[in-house]
């Protein structure tokens, strides 16, 4: 399997997604009479939310209400996000299970026992409320599950088509995903981990590659409001922690020796290198986490900032420029979706390879 196949796939995906790019981002409408604040709008889009806002209809937001699940002192508390009536300023108070809850900047706060309204300090932090453990099905969690359903549909169908065809020739969607799977195996797994050990890591590498890629792509679909899952640090952090755990668990004696007592250098150097290597152990997954988060978020920020220009200048004349530029960036972002998934996967594979490398 060559890089060419991968390129072909990349371009076909790119071509497919250009049709979406025309939409660019929507939903930057400020409240009547309010000054448009691009920073707020962009952050609102990039961050997670408790409801799935689709579009505004006659001045009213049309959105999908998502369940809010909290773990409070009184146990599990659940209610629909629609009970906040799209309020995000902490004014609407929902009383449930003996607690009073408000939503402020897409965070759920529980009011302290004697408080009736939420009060803020000078830096706009609530003073008489605290955050309960929040397991809510947010926009990102929802999109993640949609992506899981799509992934399962694609790959289970592909797997079934192999079972059906007796000669093992891929048909249908299997013909599309097989080059990608073989690419991950031959260009990531085998060269990074080694011919003999790569098999054990293939399920993880394949899953992480397609999981990141599809969520990167979903983040770019404007009608889904750019649920920025793979640009969310919680998501990248979790995946990086998985890579870290697997690396650490599969580390052999050679790997640990290189960290704590570097062979082949004088003793003072060994002592000097030890803390650096230990830091490096943690820096590797942290770099994974930040790289994916920053790349995807930056892409979203740029697209949204370009679209904001129309509202900042308050003229339609700038729209063609904005659309043209954000289209251009979107096209680049579509390439970035695959590249970042590839980089995350290949670096994970590289770390596994380093952890399992034999003494030579």
């Amino acid at each position: 399997m060559t890089l060419n196949t991968f390129k072909n796939v990349l371009f076909s995906v790119l071509f497919l997604a250009v049709s979406f790019a025309g939409y660019a981002s929507d939903n930057s409408d400020p409240q009547e009479g309010e000054e448009f604040n691009p920073k707020e709008m962009i952050l609102h889009h990039v961050k997670d939310a408790h409801e799935f806002h689709l579009w505004d209809w006659k001045g009213k937001p049309v959105s999908l209400s998502l369940p809010i699940i909290l773990w409070t002192d009184n146990g599990l508390t659940t209610f629909s996000s629609s009970q906040f009536h799209h309020d995000d300023t902490g004014k609407v108070i929902v009383e449930k299970n003996g607690g009073k809850f408000v939503k402020f900047h897409e965070k759920i706060y529980q009011l302290d026992a004697n408080a009736t309204t939420v009060a803020f300090d000078e830096e706009h932090h609530p003073v008489n409320a605290h955050k309960p453990l929040n397991f809510s099905i947010t926009r990102n969690v929802f999109m993640m599950w949609v992506s899981v359903i799509v992934l399962l549909l694609i790959f289970l169908t592909a797997a079934r088509s192999y079972k059906k065809s007796k000669d093992g020739v891929p048909t249908g969607i299997a013909g599309f995903v097989e080059p990608l799977i073989v690419f991950v195996r031959d260009e990531i797994g085998k060269p990074m981990i080694g011919e003999h050990k790569y098999k054990k890591y293939m399920p993880y590498l394949l899953t992480i590659f397609f999981f990141i890629w599809i969520n990167n792509i979903f983040g770019l679909i404007p009608i889904l409001n750019g649920a920025n899952l793979s640009g969310n640090i919680a998501f990248t952090c979790t995946l990086a922690v998985f890579t870290f755990i697997i690396t650490t668990l599969s580390g052999n004696s050679n790997y640990w020796k290189h960290i704590f007592w570097m062979p082949g250098v004088p003793v003072p150097m060994k002592i000097f290198l030890m803390p650096i290597e230990i830091i490096g152990m943690f820096v590797k997954p942290i770099s994974l986490m930040i790289r994916l988060f920053a790349n995807i978020t930056a892409g979203h920020v740029i697209i949204l900032a370009l679209m904001s220009l129309i509202f900042v200048f308050k003229t339609v004349a700038i729209a063609p420029v904005s659309v043209a530029f954000s289209l251009f960036i979107t096209v680049i972002e579509i390439i970035v979706t695959a590249i970042q998934a590839y980089i995350f996967t290949i670096l994970s594979a590289l770390y596994f390879g380093m952890a399992t490398e034999d003494h030579h």
Partner: protein
């Protein structure tokens, strides 16, 4: 700061979802797909190897055929050569024998001629002797009719006999 603070809820759901996805896909997608792919690769490898083997066998067969053909040609040539030699030998043998036979016949003929000649000579001699005796008788009869001549003859005979 909000942006770079991982939220617990999302970490929780991501971990659970990812593990779920990993387990499901590993069992129901990656295993059969990778298995099918590697099976097919193995199949292709063995097919190629067997094709190579077949090709080699074919080559061997061809080489064998050629060798056999060559051997046959050589054999034919040697046989022809032998036949030619045998032919030449037979001819020469026959010639020799004929020569010998001829020589023998000639020799026999010669001896026969010789003996015939001898017997003919002997007969001739006898005949000549008879004739001579007859002639001599006749001559002597005539001579002896005269007394003087008889004496003269006896005389000459005696002289001759003395010389002998």
């Amino acid at each position: 700061m909000d942006l770079i603070t991982p939220e617990f809820g999302l970490v929780f759901w991501t971990a659970i979802t990812f593990l779920f996805l990993l387990l499901i896909l590993r069992k129901f997608a990656w295993k059969p797909i990778l298995g099918a792919v590697s099976d097919r690769e193995e199949g292709i490898k063995t097919a190629l190897a067997s094709a190579e083997n077949a090709r080699k066998e074919m080559e061997n067969l061809q080489a064998d055929n050629e060798r056999i053909l060559k051997e046959a040609r050589l054999e034919r040539e040697t046989m022809l050569k032998e036949a030619r030699e045998i032919k030449a030998k037979m001819i020469s043998d026959a010639k020799e024998e004929a020569q010998e036979q001829a020589n023998k016949m000639i020799a026999q003929a010669q001896t026969a001629i010789e003996s015939e000649k001898k017997s003919a000579m002997a007969e001739l001699k006898n005949h000549v002797a008879g004739l001579s005796v007859e002639i001599a008788e006749k001559v002597v009869r005539q001579e002896l009719s005269n007394k003087d001549k008889q004496l003269e003859l006896v005389e000459s005979m005696l002289n001759e006999a003395k010389l002998n």
